[in-house]
Every structure is written in C-alpha cells, then in structure tokens.
C-alpha cells in the first residue's frame, strides 16, 4: 500500500465527529481606510507618501539614479536604469525596485503583489530597497476582504508585503533589514 493510502486509511479512525465549517462573518472597519493603512504601515516600519503620486516617485528615482544607484522599475510610467535581467541572480546589485501593488490592507499595512508585475519572483526580496505603488481606491479594510480580491491564478506566486524585512532574533532587539529589502516606501496614486 502506498503511504498516501496508509495515511488516508488511518484518517478513517479519527475520533472526533465531523464538524461544520463556521461562517466567517466579521464586520470590516471602513472609516478612513487610507488613514488606517498609513498607521498600520508605520507600525510595520514602512512609509506612506500620500501626495505627489507617480511624479513624486519619478523625482525620487531620478535623484537615486544621479547618485549612481541601480533601479529597476516594473511600474508603467516610472523609468529606472535597469531592465529585467535574464536570470534572477543578476538582480543581486539592485538598489531600488519599483513595483506595483494590487491592493493594500488597512488593518495591517500589507500590500498584495502578484508575480505578473515582478519580472523575476525574487525582485521585491533581493532589492536593497523597495518602492511600492498602490492606488488609494485599492485599499481594503481587512484580510477577509483581501482574500476575496487577491489575484492568484493557477501556477502563480503572490505575496503580502508588510514593511521592510526585519528580525528580532538577537535579544529581541528589532533590526530593520534582514534578508529582504531594508526599507519600504509606498506611493499612493
């Protein structure tokens, strides 16, 4: 008998009688979604830029380029100085990645990013700093709403990103910048 069959057979002797699936019915907090999102984003060490939109972002990107930084942009209308590379590994010297987020979550500051906007899947993790762009109208109240709207077609990868990477593994001291990006700036459009 295969291990799969053995496991499935063993499950027939489970002791608890079948339980019904509960109804997930939690009222969202819908007041001032952008304000809630900004507060949450600050909690997770990210920064929101409410005003200026894409032109403010392009100005920032240009300043970084002038300083010799390597910037890849996956956002239409934002111009960096690097293209999507042949291999994921070639992204190892990227200083800034500009990436569009599909939706923001007010309760925790997380932003959903789908691999269609990444070039290589590793882009938002391998870059030294991350610049995300989301539309104000794409911010939802909580994860229950986000679960309904997140796009994840067959074969795809997607991730909720809440702030820059961080760790507190040495004596509980928070250090921002572990293995992923060391900073996160979010531009609202």
């Amino acid at each position: 008998m295969s291990s799969k069959q053995e496991i499935l057979n063993a499950l027939k002797s489970a002791a608890i009688s079948p339980q019904a699936m509960p109804c997930i019915d939690i009222a969202p907090r819908i007041d001032d979604l952008v304000g809630q999102f900004e507060t949450s984003l600050n909690t997770v060490a990210g920064t929101l830029h409410r005003d200026g939109g894409l032109s403010a972002l392009q100005t920032t990107v240009d300043e970084h380029i002038a300083k010799g930084m390597q910037i890849i942009s996956m956002v239409d209308g934002i111009i960096g100085n690097r293209e999507v590379s042949d291999t994921a590994h070639e992204l190892k010297d990227i200083d800034y990645a500009v990436i569009p987020g599909d939706l923001g979550v007010a309760e925790n500051g997380a932003i959903w990013v789908n691999n269609k906007s990444l070039g290589h899947r590793v882009t938002p993790f391998i870059c030294e700093n991350l610049l995300l762009v989301i539309e104000a109208k794409s911010i939802v109240a909580n994860m229950h709403q986000a679960a309904k709207l997140m796009t994840l077609a067959t074969g795809e990868f997607g991730t909720f990103i809440a702030g820059p990477s961080k760790t507190a593994d040495i004596e509980q001291a928070l250090v921002v910048g572990a293995h992923g990006a060391c900073s996160l700036n979010v531009y609202l459009t």
């Binding site: 489970a14 909580n142 679960a147 994840l152 067959t154 990103i161 990006a181």
Partner: protein, 457 residues
Amino acid sequence: MSTSKSNVHAHKAEIFCKDESRVDWHSKALWMLREKRDRAAGSLPEWEQLRHIGSEMKLHTLTHLAQYLEEFEQNCVANNIKVHWAKDGAEHNQIVHQILAKHQVKKVVKSKSMLTEECHMNPYLEDRGIEVIDTDLGERIIQLAKMPPSHIVVPAIHMKKEEVGDLFHEKLGTNAGASDPLYLTRAARSHLREQFLSADAAMTGVNMAVADTGAVVVCTNEGNADMGANLPKLQLHSMGIDKVVPDLDSAAVLLRTLARNATGQPITTYSSFYRGPQEGGEMHVIIVDNGRTEMLKDKILAESLKCIRCGGCLNTCPVYRRSGGYSYNYTIPGPIGIAVGAQNDDTNSIPWACTLCGSCTYVCPTKVPLDKIIHHHRRLKAEAGKLPYGKSSYMPLVGKFMASETALNCSMGIARTALKILPGSVLKPFSGAWGKYRELPVAPNSSFEAWFKKNRG
C-alpha cells in the same frame, strides 16, 4: 528503569535555573512578547470571534482531512506542483534526499520548519554530502553554535548578544567583542546573501496549505523563505497533514491571528502564496503524517493539531519561561511541545512540566485546550504504568489513604498539631520537592469539615 535522571524535565530545569539572573532575563524577554501579543489582540474588537472561527475552522478541516488533503493534491498537480506523501520522518527524509540527489544538489538553503526539525532532516542530508544552510537568523545562530532551537518562533532566545557576537567572530569573522544586534544582523545578511545566491535548492516549511487553490503559504519576517525559494530552480516545501485549510478565506483568518499572537505584529512582513513553480523551475510538496493520524484517534490529543505554531503558549508559560527550551526532551518545547511530544518522551516527565494554570489555553489563537491535553497525557502515562518521579509507587498509596475518611482525618489532625509545635527545620524534609522553594503553610485551627459543622451545619 531506562530513564536516566539527566533527561527528566525537573533535572534539566534545575541546570537552567542555576544562573538566577539569566532565568529572570529569559523570563522577561518572553513576557515582553506576551505583552506585545496582548496589545495586538486588544486592538481588535473581533479578537475573540477570530479565535472562535479559527478553532472551528481547524476542527472542521481536521474532521474532513482526507477530503481536503486529496483536494489539495489534485489542485497542486493542476498547478504543476509535485506532491509526495510520507508516513513518517524517515520516509520524509528519503523523499527529500531523492529529489535533491536527482538534481545533484550540493547546497540547500532552508527557512524555518519545525517539521524538518521533528524529522531530524539536517543530519540525514549532511550525512549524504548535502550542505544544509538554515537561513532564519535565529536558526543560523543556533546552527553555527551546533544547538537545537530553544523556541519555535525565536529559536535563539536563550542566547545573549555577547554570545552571538563571540560566535559570529569565530564563524563569520565579525569584529572581536562586537555585540550590537544591528551590526551582527548586517553581518549575517551579507553572509547569507552569498548562500542564497549559490544554493542549488531551497526548502521551507508551510504555514498553511490551501486546498481549493493548491497553494502553500509561507510566512516570514526576514524574507529568507522567499529569497531562497525564488533564486534556485528547485523548491521543496514540507508540511504536516494538519497544515491544510479549505480555502483562501480560511487562510486569511489565520493570517490575522498568527503574527499578532506570536510577536504582536499585525501580520508577518511576508505572507507568500506559492501556487506553482517559477518559470523553468520545479516545485515539490511533501505531506507528512509522522504520528499525526495516531493523535487524531484520541479525541483530546486530536485538538492539538489545531495548532498554528505561533509560539504564544511558550511565551506565557510560567514553567517554560523559567526552565528554558532545552528542558523538555523534545524538539518543540513549552505547552504545545508537551501536547504533541509527550507520547515520545522516554523520560515520561514532560507532562509534569506544567502547573495546569491554563494561561496557554487562554492565549491560543485556535483554542487548543492545552492544559486539558497535558492533564490527559498524565492519565495516559499512568495508564501505561509510566509515572515518573516515583509517582507510580506512592500515588496509589496516596489514593487509598485519601479515600479513607478515618486515615485522612487522623493524619491531618497530626499534621496540624505538628505544624504548630515542631520547628520548620524538622518538618521541611517531609515536604519533599514541594518544600524546596516554598515555606510551610500556617496550620489552621481545625479541619474544614469541623469548621463547617460548627458554623454552617
């Protein structure tokens, strides 16, 4: 008896407790996490509702597990994910090794997975010439120090920054005497970057496996799981059968409570959904039983499979905080470690590493009745004739004694008198281990029964 004294919980705890200031520091560090958790939970008006739904959803899934596992497998296959089934740790390790050997893998980068710890996978692969690099900072620290994790979420919580500094100086060449966490973390970041970029394969654990989409969800704060899984072309994910959830809505419920209950964060930095391999890559999921179906046959033990491994019960546990993660004789320490590990504990002592205070059950985000399960383990040990600490010889006598009204009344009368007239130094030895850190009680004037008859009878 085959059990040596050196492995029983009380003895190992005693070793940990020798340095009192360190115990205080350890306890405080964990309590800080509990306080953060309380603030995060308190900020959500629906917190109790989320715990309730989380518990019910997990129970529903566990009682329909065969159906959801098969649904998960079918959807994985449709997403070009290869699925393997392992009945125990040994089979899991063989499957992983076969996949890695087929691809001539020399180096694997691994993010945190308590399951691979449970299966003792690292030494198995290392014996076969495959280098396994743990990439979570805490895990890398203990891997370099050649120690097992002492906590399931913060595995190096028992180490002081100076000790990490010395270790990194020796292994990674950081400056001698440097112990600043920012400096040490940056050093680990650059050291591990090289590992990510040169790895042939990546492995991760699984926080949730979504049945109706055929996707695995992996949560980290450091980004190490995603740096790993998205660079080499081969990715492996190991999961216990208890990790499956019906759908994305269910996963969302757990994503709301997991990090809040673990560290007080509203969500982990990265909650990644893998619904297929990267372009030109290969993705494998290994579904492991390793004793879980056996636990499901006992309706009290079964509930421990609702656990989502947030570590909240460790942080609140008065025994764990003061005895450390290495006192439990099992990979997973603390209340959940007792719940899922006691049946394999050959010292038969860990179910007694608990005051039955119930704080763990109170904080659990999926309402695992931990104190009830631990109490149940004591019963199972007694039924199997495996009571520790000499309990099997004196507990039956205590039982008989307390069942006899005359014997009990008579001896309690003597005890009350003795407490009044004899000095503590004479009586203390009779209280055994109980009296070691406690003062003897003040004797009441009469028994409760006598008091009741006089005042209320």
